[in-house]
């Protein structure tokens, strides 16, 4: 029982660190994009992603997923 508690706490700590790394990577992608005008940015993003934005996203630009 006691070793299970320890293992669960260690897994929780590692998952929290992994979440931090995941969000940091998304942040770097978001701020690393070149500053261009919005329309060309949107076109570039679509080319890079190779897919269309969903219907309920009225202004698909600015950030990379």
């Amino acid at each position: 029982m006691q070793s299970i508690i320890l293992i669960l706490v260690l897994i929780a700590a590692l998952l929290v660190v992994a979440s931090g790394v995941w969000v940091a990577a998304a942040l770097l992608r978001a701020i690393a994009r070149p500053k261009t005008d919005p329309d060309s940015n949107s076109r570039t993003e679509r080319r890079m992603d190779g897919r269309q934005q969903p219907d309920d996203s009225p202004h698909p630009r600015n950030l990379h997923e």
């Binding site: 006691q2 070793s3 979440s19 969000v23 942040l27 996203s57 009225p58 600015n62 990379h64 997923e65």
Partner: protein, 465 residues
């Protein structure tokens, strides 16, 4: 500790923060200021939700609770995870699907009419200002304790730094800087736990495993059942759909992103609470047993870490405060513009952006001025939770699910909920204020629900519905 080294670490952190905020770019119109053009991806929405709810109470507070009552607060805190997951499954996608919504107040306007939108806007604005005052107080305490600055200067620094990037960048700047803050504290604090457990804890991991059940049993014996019920209710309802979360639900790229970000944030909260309470349990064998709850984390790090480590923790704590504060300031400004000014007068997009920016500065100033009135960090949060849960939640959640909700029900529920919550808080005596405030949420919420049912029974359907 060495103040010069701390100052260097804090300066480096502020320089990085300025760089990130500048990269977030100035908001050019109200759509970008309020919902970041509804283009935010999953990782950033999740990071911003988690960075907003992990405030001083969910970090310093949980370590202190773990110190005294082991994993008891992990169980109580699981109500918070359940709340986030339920919002993700049932509420956030419905909110995101509403057309032309910038705030929760907009949803009230669509469901209950203009009058309800303005009332919801006023309550939201008051709550954002109240939460902001609590966060500024927490940040001020950290700066004052570390650098010995006068309280007024610490409070002013926190308010000015946060208001500056939120005013110009809007939600986008808030979310981007939240991601920066989240990455910092989500990496630094668990690393503190692991370092302490494997390199400093007397007896190592085995002693920790033995200490955990003892501390938890102590907590169960010393906490009255009614207090556990009140706290569980506060965790389950207190922060549900507060303006910053509603804005993030609306700013998501799609309904699916909105849903998943809340569900992941709920799961993350369990992991976070486990790490924080475990850190508190470890502190039981390292710091003196009479250490006040709010000082356990600082004392633990002071006794384990070198000076550089202590400075890094300081940065993590400032990050925790700023990431909650910027979201609250932006949400308050958007609510003021969208729910209070726009229903009363027509605004061009340019004017709306200007009003939003000025409102950010005014809310930060009012919150900073109100700091001396905040009883304590936990006490201030409990007041905000009680008012918000009873004033807004019944009308918001039922309204999103009913096809034709009655305007009278919404207005009555908000009015009665606010009134009963304020009266209940005002009648709580000063000694044991925090303990007694924990249970005021139950009668206030009951009164709001009863008022909603009465309004629904006797009210008429909104014209044109």
């Amino acid at each position: 500790m060495n103040p010069a080294l701390s100052a260097i670490v804090v300066f480096a952190y502020l320089a990085a923060l300025v760089f990130v905020a500048l990269r977030a770019r100035v908001a050019r119109d109200f759509d970008e200021f309020s919902v970041a053009r509804r283009a935010l991806p999953l990782a950033l929405i999740f990071g911003s939700i988690a960075a907003t709810y992990v405030g001083p109470a969910f970090s310093i507070g949980f370590v202190g609770r773990g110190f005294h009552s082991g994993f008891l607060f992990l169980c109580v805190g699981s109500a918070y995870a359940v709340q986030n997951i339920l919002v993700g499954l049932l509420v956030a996608p419905r909110l995101r699907e509403l057309k032309g919504c910038f705030t929760l107040g907009d949803a009230f306007g669509q469901k209950y009419g203009r009058k309800a939108q303005i009332i919801a806007g006023l309550i939201s604005l008051g709550i954002c200002t109240g939460f902001s005052a609590v966060m500024i107080k927490a940040g001020g305490v950290v700066l004052t304790d570390t650098f010995g600055l006068p309280t007024w200067l610490s409070v002013s620094l926190i308010a000015v730094i946060t208001a500056s990037y939120t005013t110009f960048g809007g939600l986008r700047a808030s979310v981007i800087t939240d991601a920066f803050h989240f990455a910092l504290f989500a990496i630094l604090l668990p690393v503190t736990l692991l370092c302490a457990m494997f390199f400093h804890f007397k007896g190592g991991p085995a002693a920790f495993s033995a200490e955990a059940p003892i501390a938890t049993l102590n907590g169960l014996r010393s906490t009255p059942a009614i207090e556990i019920v009140g706290l569980t209710a506060a965790f389950l309802l207190g922060e549900t759909l507060i303006p910053p979360y509603a804005n993030l639900a609306l700013a998501s790229r799609t309904s699916k992103v909105s849903k998943n970000s809340f569900i992941i944030a709920g799961i993350f909260s369990i992991l976070w609470f486990a790490v924080m309470t475990a850190t508190g349990i470890m502190a039981r064998c390292i710091v003196p047993s009479d250490t006040p709850e709010d000082h356990v984390l600082l004392e633990l790090v002071r006794s384990l870490m070198p000076i550089g480590g202590y400075s890094l923790l300081l940065v993590a704590l400032i990050s925790i405060v700023l990431s909650s504060l910027d979201s609250l300031l932006n949400a308050g400004a958007v609510v003021f513009t969208e729910d209070i000014v726009k229903p009363l007068t027509a605004l061009s997009d340019r004017t709306a952006l200007l009003v939003g920016r000025r409102a950010t500065i005014v809310i930060a100033t009012v919150a900073a001025v109100c700091v001396p009135a905040v009883p304590s960090i936990i006490g201030g949060l409990l007041i905000c939770y009680t008012v918000w849960a009873s004033a807004i939640l019944p009308a918001a959640i039922i309204g999103l699910w009913l096809k034709n909700p009655r305007p009278l029900a919404g207005v009555l529920s908000m009015g009665v909920g606010t009134l009963v919550a304020i009266i209940a808080i005002a009648t709580v005596s000063t000694p044991d204020f925090e303990t007694k405030t924990r249970v005021t949420i139950i009668p206030a919420l009951g009164a709001a629900l009863a008022a909603y049912l009465i309004g629904h029974r006797f009210g008429k359907i909104k014209a044109g519905a």
